[in-house]
């Protein structure tokens, strides 16, 4: 039997393994450039159409769950806001989109204690290849909040990547579907300018 010599010892001795709170902070170094066509080139690797004004760029500096995204505070009482992100390492491990979607939803917004219900699921083209889009909605009757999310899975090389958007409202609030249109335009415009780290490793 083959034995491997290098051991990666990942010591996670805290009891709160899954309580990873992500701090979001805008980077001091600007990681993007604007093109004459109105698109954004991100770290010379990605290109996309940015959302209109009112959306604030958010990034995770270290150990985050996603790379970057956009946040919009919306009129109305707490928790009225919408956020969408591009995530190169979405929750889950499977490289099959159907399985990954189920793994993802087991973890997605888990600490918000929402009972998520799948409203819509459909196959679609993402980056010209296979893709899967899922719309879910959940309610928290205790906090009197609700959230609606759309998650889009695609492939970059062999690995699954995702986009997801979550809109929060008070329980009696109304969802703003124009934000989902913005998200769809962002996803549709998204392209890779070069091979990923994993494809060139």
């Amino acid at each position: 039997m083959k034995r491997n010599g290098v051991v990666i010892l990942s010591i996670v001795l805290a009891l709160f393994w899954l309580s990873g709170c992500t701090s979001m902070e805008a980077s001091k170094k600007v990681p993007y450039t604007l093109t004459p066509q109105g698109t954004v080139v991100w770290e010379n690797e990605l290109e996309f159409k940015p959302p209109p004004s009112g959306w604030k760029l958010i990034r995770v500096e270290e150990g985050g769950e996603f790379g970057f995204g956009f946040l919009k505070k919306e009129p109305g009482p707490f928790p009225c806001q919408t956020m969408f992100v591009y995530d190169e390492d979405p929750f889950g491990v499977s490289t099959r989109l159907e399985e990954r979607e189920q793994e993802f939803l087991r973890r997605f917004l888990w600490n918000a204690c929402l009972q998520m219900q799948v409203l819509e699921k459909k196959e679609m083209k993402v980056f010209g290849g296979e893709g899967l889009a899922v719309v879910v909605e959940g309610k928290d009757p205790v906090k009197k909040e609700k959230a609606k999310s759309k998650i889009v899975f695609g492939k970059r090389g062999d690995r699954v990547v995702s986009f997801y958007m979550t809109q929060w409202r008070p329980l009696d609030g109304t969802f703003d579907h124009s934000a989902f249109d913005t998200f769809d335009q962002f996803v549709a415009s998204f392209k890779f300018l070069k091979k990923s780290f994993y494809e060139t490793l």
């Binding site: 290098v6 010892l9 990942s10 010591i11 150990g63 087991r106």
Partner: protein, 115 residues
């Protein structure tokens, strides 16, 4: 841990294997691994001596029951610690380091601890 699971095939390519260590009990780890589809070994070290042995910094979250922060350690086939990083694992950094070790020939089959 889920990130390590995603990278198992890449670790295999570089002759590396991953082991997780936690102070949680075996039952908790079994359930946790099942919930995340983690297939690599997880070691239950309830007393926490491995944390002390690897000089992991304790946190102050619970008095009289030291918790430990996250630390990633890479040990080569000679048993030498070659990489230490506190906090969340930087998977790209880990993979680049393993690639380098593999090229150096320090991640081949072990002697099983024998000279």
């Amino acid at each position: 841990m889920e990130g390590h699971q995603r990278n198992l095939s890449l670790y295999e390519r570089f002759n590396a294997r991953v082991v997780g260590v936690s102070r949680d009990d075996v039952k908790t780890l079994k359930d946790w691994a099942k919930s995340l589809d983690v297939t690599f070994p997880l070691l239950s070290n309830v007393t926490g001596f491995l944390g002390s042995a690897f000089d992991v910094k304790p946190t102050n979250e619970l008095k009289y029951y030291p918790l430990f922060g996250r630390r990633t350690i890479i040990i080569d086939k000679k048993g030498i610690i070659r990489y230490v990083r506190d906090g969340s694992p930087d998977f790209k950094d880990i993979l680049l380091f393993l690639k380098k070790l593999n090229q150096e020939g320090l991640s081949g089959p072990t002697t099983g601890g024998k000279p």
